[in-house]
């Protein structure tokens, strides 16, 4: 086992950490959603790379092939992608409503407005 054989996990971790950093650092709510998307995609890549088998082909039965990639992670990620876009759209809808109520999507400004105790403009 060579040290380099885990490079797929390193890429996943790199992407994951970029997503995490965007979520932590950026005050803009829309950017936080983008960061979450990056994080999410890194999890997809992790699952798919676990399911990949050396020398295998796509999991659709065909004559002449006996080695197939593991279909189970594919199924999980397939549904996760569509669920991911549904939840992303829900987050974006929330951002639109927040923008209407506060007229900003910057987290610091929103918190400042909240601590003012002024009524919202719903």
């Amino acid at each position: 086992m060579s040290w380099f054989s885990h490079y797929n996990y390193w890429i996943v971790i790199f992407l994951m950490m970029i997503g995490l950093y965007i979520v932590i650092c950026r005050d803009n709510l829309a950017r936080k959603v983008i960061g979450l998307n990056v994080f999410q995609t890194s999890v997809f890549v992790l699952f798919i790379s676990i399911g990949a088998v050396r020398g295998a082909t796509a999991p659709i039965l065909a004559a002449g092939f006996t080695e197939y990639a593991n279909p189970l992670p594919h199924v999980l990620i397939l549904t996760a992608i569509v669920v991911g876009v549904a939840t992303t759209s829900l987050a974006l809808a929330l951002i639109v409503r927040i923008n209407e109520a506060y007229e900003t999507i910057d987290e610091d400004q929103i918190q400042a407005m909240d601590s003012d105790g002024k009524p919202w403009n719903i």
């Binding site: 390193w10 994951m16 829309a30 676990i50 088998v53 397939l78 549904t79 876009v85 974006l92």
Partner: protein, 174 residues
């Protein structure tokens, strides 16, 4: 490439550019999925990630006045960076226990997958194992996920529906 786009995503200033880069990022991950033999997943990611998500981001941006974005360049913040570096380091350390990439004897490939691969054609008559597993063996999962999508759709309609409840809004203000 994927990593480079992610880094660019970290640094760009405008939200519009960021949404476009999200689309590119999705498309690149699609190519990666094809390389890893996951054709169904790549198909979905191409349609969803590169198509719908970008359109939704643009639709959201058109609702938000551009002045609301405080121009912020990439400003380096040491404490979060340290936290991220530490977490990443621990995760990299943990990968030493993970199976090698593409190892046919990895635990994930030994448990139920061989059963699916060998018996799915016999039991369901479908050559596409992904569909067979999705619809038949894991039907409960899929039902739950469709429910989640339905619920998210209802949530968006409730949040952005055209009829605004003026009465409720005013009672909150008082």
């Amino acid at each position: 490439m994927l990593a480079a786009t992610a880094v660019a995503l970290l640094c760009v200033r405008g939200l519009f550019v960021a949404s476009m880069l999200t689309g590119i990022y999705s498309l690149l991950s699609t190519a990666l999925f094809v390389l890893l033999d996951a054709v169904d997943v790549a198909f979905t990611e191409a349609a969803v990630g590169a198509g719908i998500t970008t359109v939704l981001f643009l639709a959201m941006l058109s609702k938000i006045p551009s002045r609301s974005e405080r121009s912020q360049a990439f400003n380096f913040q040491p404490l979060p960076f340290l936290v991220v570096l530490l977490t990443g380091g621990i995760l990299v350390y943990a990968t030493q226990d993970m199976p090698e990439f593409g190892d046919p004897k990895a635990p994930a490939n030994l448990h139920v997958a061989p059963k699916y691969i060998i018996e799915s054609e016999k039991e369901t008559g479908l050559p596409n194992m992904v569909t067979a597993v999705l619809a038949s063996y894991r039907g409960y999962d899929t039902l739950g996920e469709v429910t989640v999508i339905f619920t998210a759709g209802v949530g968006v309609l409730l949040l952005l529906g055209r009829k605004r409840r003026r009465v409720l809004g005013e009672s909150v203000e008082e």
